[in-house]
Symmetry: C2
Subunit: 403 residues, 2 copies
């Protein structure tokens, strides 16, 4: 196999260092890690995908500007405050943050990406942000990746980082990433915060193309709730430190893409598995669609349905709700052509319940992880989508997030 | 005032009788009322609006056929079984039910509407349905309206019926209705089950036009969850028993419409207030939209957002989630132009938090009923939308609906 998992998260790629600090962003008394910095001494080409929400946080607007320019050295991330709905002041705060880091690292401020996650509508506490910045710059190291992944968590219960080494024709390149998720997870263009590094050398247009392809099959295939955040961002930095440049149209490019995809899919799946209040991980496989977009629409319709998600939570094999969600997905499905499986058991075909043992299906739904498969009978396109269940704990976590 | 509330539900309109029976549809041992019949000796013109779900229950297909024909005498409704995803057999069962009623009432089977609500994917127990039909036909009376409203309940906690008398230029006409809701409530064309009667005489094309207009401002403005049912139907019967015919284009037509709208809005609001697990009733008022459709899109985006609904449940004045839902509604809003109020308190304008006292806002959200008002600053169209909160009980009710 030419792609193997390795340790190191965002620092698995050569030439990347990271760090974390506790700055008390949300609450000065809170000592949890809430700032992270990822840095490459070599300038990296960058690509990003961002929320399509019309209400975009200030750091998203900053990153979009920098990504169109295409190069950067560093990414600074804070949790505890989203710096969204903060107007002109929010934009100034982002720029000041970038400037502070740039001065300390002796780079240009337009080479410092900034990401934020947390509460909306509260100005950043800039004194504490600066404290976090200073601590982060001081403690940069290739050993700090796990602390960085911890620092960007909000309601996440586990840090999420993953990396692979990819064997190319002329040597090995690495792809490593971290992500945070938990709530407000329903992507459209990109979702939540994720930073991915690679030591391959790639031109910025190609980097963007490969990231978009990978995001479409990973971060854009997950749902915890149906709420697309104001801050969703995935950023990929390629610093070329491996000495291996990816040439367009080669088999190496495809291999690199597979490695990138593997990192994106791992992070996306683990965001769902760690979704707010999640007790189940459900893979929704749609086959036989006429287009990938329609497959995605149908999958998402099931993935965000409150009634399907509560049935998953209860382990209730109430497949009528799944069929109902397929029916209102907006895709002109013909119910008589739809086949539906829970696990490996066919429960519906030809417009009728199939002949199955309900107890067996209930048994499958007791597992922490299971697959719902619908064949739409309209064509040959397919998609995999991942969702969690809707539990008491989801309600509990979100009924009073801020206290 | 020319429109006054009156007693009598579906039987408030002259010439309508109704009844209810306990047939053990879902469970032979269960003695709750689960069949209802509404009957007019005079043939009525009819109009209906139905789910736009591609997966339509057999009774929906039957009613659509009858509504295009435009006349009927009776509506039979069962709860406990939706007769959805039941194929050819389901269609035969509807026709048999209509035939049974037609024989007993000496009318044509194509004048008997049939509605069903309950579990999906289980064939109707026709022996018990027939028992219910016989009991219903025997006990028809203008006194039975409340029992009919009770018989169509599923997870509803209270029966919902309402009626008004409308003073027209040449006398009084009545409009009365009943509805059931509770879960799988997110309309598009129409929603859940509702039967509305009137003793005004109205041509079927006009009846349809007025019903569509009223449904757009009532049943199509509510959400409990985001799941559009396979069985949603609103049916309006006009038997002319008042002796007063509504002429097209007159002031009487507008007055009648206002009476009809009042009944539809009352029923729709009460479906939300009795939503599964609902502890709050939230009115979402969108003003300043460029089109009514966009106002509806924005309102719905807030109304179905799990994060907004859990914040309503927790009484958490986390208005960032509301703004976020406005941002991903699909309408190209400009955040700087949006003003947002919770109750009468302005919390956001000009892209920034307004100067308000958070405790006052939290106080408002402690009420069982409050208003969220967003002015979009794009035009002059507006809409009122109603939603409930997302509570532990919603999850509890739906995690194991069938046991």
């Amino acid at each position: 196999m030419s792609i193997v998992p390795i340790d190191g998260g965002v620092c698995a790629s050569l030439g990347f260092e990271s760090s974390a600090a506790s700055a008390g962003i949300k609450n000065p008394e809170n000592k949890r890690l809430d700032c992270a910095l990822v840095f490459s001494k070599d300038k990296a080409t960058i690509a990003g995908t961002f929320t399509t929400n019309r209400v975009k946080a200030a750091p998203v607007l900053w990153c979009q500007r920098l990504c169109s320019q295409g190069e950067a050295h560093a990414v600074f991330i804070n949790s505890g405050n989203a710096n969204a709905c903060t107007g002109e002041r929010g934009l100034n705060d982002v720029e000041q943050t970038a400037e502070e880091i740039a001065t300390l690292l002796k780079i240009d401020k337009t080479h410092v990406l900034v990401m934020s996650t947390g509460v909306i509508g509260v100005p950043l506490p800039m004194d504490r942000i600066k404290k976090g910045v200073h601590e982060c710059v001081k403690s940069l190291s290739s050993e700090n990746h796990l602390n960085s992944a911890k620092a960007i968590m909000t309601t996440d219960t586990v840090p999420k980082e993953y990396a692979v080494a990819v064997q190319l024709s002329r040597g090995i390149v690495r792809v490593g990433g971290m992500a945070k998720g938990a709530g407000m997870i329903c992507p459209n263009m990109a979702t939540m915060l994720s930073v991915i590094t690679t030591d391959a050398g790639i031109a910025k247009e190609k980097l963007r193309e490969l990231l978009l392809r990978a995001v479409q099959k990973s971060f854009n295939c997950i749902a915890v709730d149906n709420d697309m955040s104001t801050n969703d961002s995935v950023i990929l930095l390629a610093n070329g430190a491996s000495g291996i440049a990816i040439q367009s149209g080669t088999q190496d490019e495809e291999l690199f893409y597979q490695g990138l995809l593997q990192v994106c899919v791992w992070l996306a799946r683990n965001i769902v598995a760690d979704g707010e209040g999640a007790t189940k991980f459900v893979e929704i496989k749609i086959t036989g669609a006429d287009t990938v977009d329609n497959a995605r629409k149908i999958a998402k319709s099931i993935a965000v349905s409150q009634l399907c998600k509560t049935a998953f939570f209860g382990g209730d094999p109430n497949w009528g709700r799944i069929l109902c969600a397929i029916g209102y997905s907006g895709v002109p499905v013909e119910p008589e052509k739809v086949k539906l499986w829970i696990g490996n058991i066919l429960v519906f075909e030809k417009g009728l319940p199939a002949n199955y043992d309900e107890k067996e299906v209930a048994e499958i739904m007791k597992n922490k992880e299971f697959v719902i498969h619908a064949d739409i009978g309209m064509g040959s396109e397919e998609i995999c989508y991942w969702t969690s269940d809707l539990s008491y704990d989801y309600v509990k976590i979100n009924a009073d997030y801020r206290t």
